[in-house]
């Protein structure tokens, strides 16, 4: 039961870890992707506005007015109103006029959040450089303090062969052509990326804290959840142990009394029947006893498993012959294992007893060692349908074809308990008419 609780905690913890990993990954991927999309949206907007941020109109010098290619479009608002706003952005030569910006519904509209919001545009750090056919660079707009205008031109020149992407880690650029001039716009997305990195750090730290907290939570829930089951299991074992104990003495006394009657009056049908029923009950009580024995601390010794299996099987060969069951063994020599001697002998005897009862004509046993694991395998032909039959290890479980054999449903449950007590695993399945019971130690 302790193992079931640990399994519950482990599985719950793994589920939480998996869900957290998926959720946080999605959040972070979206966060970084959206930072890139926002930047692309802005550079695209600038490209549509011939190198200027939407909503700003530069006050042109006469030289610039002559240059039709570099002239930004004059925008008017829907209602024809015009607002003036003069800004000096890091020594830029342009005085920008704030014009009406169409409400950007998705990003919150006027005064809201997002790449099209007016205040966001004010705080945008970018530059646009235009190149003519002779590769002469002209600064169209410059709103950046990390580099000088000359450095910005050199930077733009190095990007002219690309189309769009990241440069210098946190700068997004776009290369586009208007008329015969090629424009390069570079936007600083450092602040937005830093937000994404902060989300990443919060995700990692928060995720770790959640995992630790959930471990304690599941530990607590596991204890609460399994306590009644453990209690029921303990009470069941106590009940069986008490039942066994309470039955022992009366059975022995009935045996003695019946024997006395037979000595005095001779054997008759009644005494024969009593003896038969008492023997049946005695066998059942002894099987009850086997279950409680599993819980007792056993003396574990290093056992020659190969020798023991050979001995037990060879001793049982006569019984197989009597039932006309062909027995075959494949025992790898020199396999040793530390286990309670009584437990492993009992396991073997129960397996053999099971095989003797339910084999049609063939039974085989194998013992193999692979790395540190030892595998004991019992196979016998059966008329059961293919599938998993792990329920045969549950107490008092008797399969349909076993009902007539008089099995109590306790023998294999002892095997399961004994295997588990030795940190092993046991399984039963039918494949192509062969019942396979596998024990991994």
């Amino acid at each position: 039961m302790d193992k079931a609780r640990k399994k519950f905690i482990l599985l719950s913890e793994l589920t939480v870890m998996l869900l957290l990993a998926v959720l946080l990954s999605v959040i972070n991927i979206l966060s970084f992707t959206m930072a890139a999309e926002d930047a692309d949206h802005l550079t695209e907007s600038i490209s549509h506005n011939q190198g200027f941020i939407k909503g700003f109109v530069p006050e042109f010098s006469p030289e610039q007015e002559d240059n039709a290619q570099g002239q930004p479009p004059q925008e008017t608002s829907d209602d024809g109103q015009m607002t003036d706003q003069t800004q000096n952005n890091n020594g830029s030569a342009y005085k920008n006029k704030k014009r009406d910006v169409k409400p950007f519904i998705l990003n919150g509209g006027r005064g809201g959040m997002g790449p099209n919001s007016p205040d966001m545009n004010n705080s945008l750090r970018y530059f646009t450089v235009a190149f003519d056919k002779d590769d002469n660079a002209e600064m169209i707009d410059f709103r950046m303090s990390a580099v000088s205008e000359d450095e910005a031109k050199e930077w733009a020149e190095s990007l002219i062969d690309g189309s769009t992407g990241w440069t210098n880690t946190s700068y997004r650029y776009r290369v586009y052509t208007i008329g015969d001039r090629t424009y390069v716009t570079v936007i600083d997305q450092g602040r937005e990326l830093w937000q994404s990195y902060r989300i990443l750090i919060i995700s990692i730290v928060g995720g770790a804290v959640l995992i630790v907290l959930s471990f304690f939570l599941f530990h607590f829930i596991g204890r609460k959840l399994f306590r009644p089951i453990e209690e029921a299991d303990r009470k069941q074992k106590q009940f069986i142990a008490r039942l066994e104990s309470e039955f022992k003495m009366p059975l022995t006394i009935i045996n003695a009394d019946t024997e006395s009657l037979e000595i005095k009056n001779g054997e008759n049908e009644q005494t024969k029947s009593i003896n038969k029923q008492v023997k049946r009950m005695t066998r059942l009580v002894k099987e009850f006893g086997s279950l409680s024995v599993v819980d007792e601390p056993a003396q574990k010794t290093k056992i020659d498993l190969s020798g023991l299996m050979t001995a037990v099987l060879e001793n049982s060969r006569k019984s197989f012959d009597e039932k006309k069951i062909e027995l075959s063994c494949d025992i790898e020599p020199e396999i040793f294992y530390t286990i309670s001697d009584e437990a492993i002998r009992k396991i073997m005897r129960e397996l053999i007893s099971n095989s003797l009862r339910f084999s049609n004509s063939k039974a085989s046993y194998s013992l193999k060692k692979h790395k540190d694991r030892i595998k004991i395998c019992q196979m016998n032909d059966t008329s059961l349908a293919d599938g998993s039959y792990d329920q045969i290890f549950d107490r008092f479980t008797v399969l349909d074809n076993a009902e007539k054999s008089g099995g109590s449903g306790l023998g294999l449950s002892y095997v399961k308990e004994a295997v588990r007590a030795s940190n092993g695993r046991i399984s039963a399945r039918v494949k192509n008419g062969i019942m396979i019971i596998e024990i991994n130690l």
Binding site: S245, L251, T252, A256, S260, Q299, G307, L308, T310, D341
Partner: protein, 200 residues
């Protein structure tokens, strides 16, 4: 043959007193440890059958007393016979686990009495069992069943594996404890045999 039957369950005492009497034994009964000691001092018994959970005076003390008086003992217990009990538990001369069949008790009684009266010394290589004193190499106590297993092995008689399973383990443990080279091993085509292992 005079037997002392000691058990806290009076129904058990009654039933087995009748049965053993019918089997030609003279039986006295006691239902606690004080009565057992008292009756042991009053008269000489050929064997004592005692429940391991007898009240007032522990079964271990009673067995110790019987050993001093050379009275063989049969312990009746509801605890399972296993090698741990045989090697570390209270050592009587025979051990019966409840529930048992009447013939198991009578044959155990017969076995302990016969052994205690015999002068038989069983020997194999570096080990020996004195059947009369129920001792292995004059050092460790052995039960009647362990003597029977050892005797059968010397005579190379087939062993009933299911019955003698714990005794094979306990004997091997005792050989090892005494640092003897004798062991009981299963040999293919021969069955269980006494063998001498290589030193070291």
């Amino acid at each position: 043959m005079k037997l002392l039957l000691a058990d806290p369950d009076r129904d058990f005492l009654e039933a087995f007193k009748i049965l053993l009497t019918l089997s030609d034994y003279s039986v006295k009964t006691a239902f606690d440890g004080t009565q057992v000691i008292q009756k042991l001092h009053e008269e000489r018994f050929d064997a004592l059958i005692v429940n391991s959970d007898i009240p007032r005076i522990s079964a271990s003390e009673i067995i110790k007393k019987c050993r001093e008086m050379n009275i063989p003992t049969v312990i009746v217990s509801d605890r399972k016979i296993n090698s741990a009990i045989l090697t570390h538990g209270m050592i009587g001369n025979a051990y019966l686990q409840l529930p048992f069949l009447p013939y198991e008790l009578t044959s155990a009684v017969r076995g302990v009495i016969e052994n205690s009266n015999s002068k038989e010394i069983l020997r194999y290589e570096d080990t020996s069992i004195d059947a009369g004193s129920f001792s292995l190499c004059d050092t460790l106590p052995v039960t009647c069943d362990e003597i029977n297993v050892y005797r059968s092995l010397i005579k190379k008689e087939p062993l009933d594996f299911k019955t003698y399973d714990p005794y094979i383990t306990s004997l091997n443990y005792k050989f090892e404890k005494l640092k003897k080279l004798t062991r009981i091993k299963y040999l293919i085509n021969e069955g269980y045999r006494l063998v001498t292992i290589k030193n070291g």
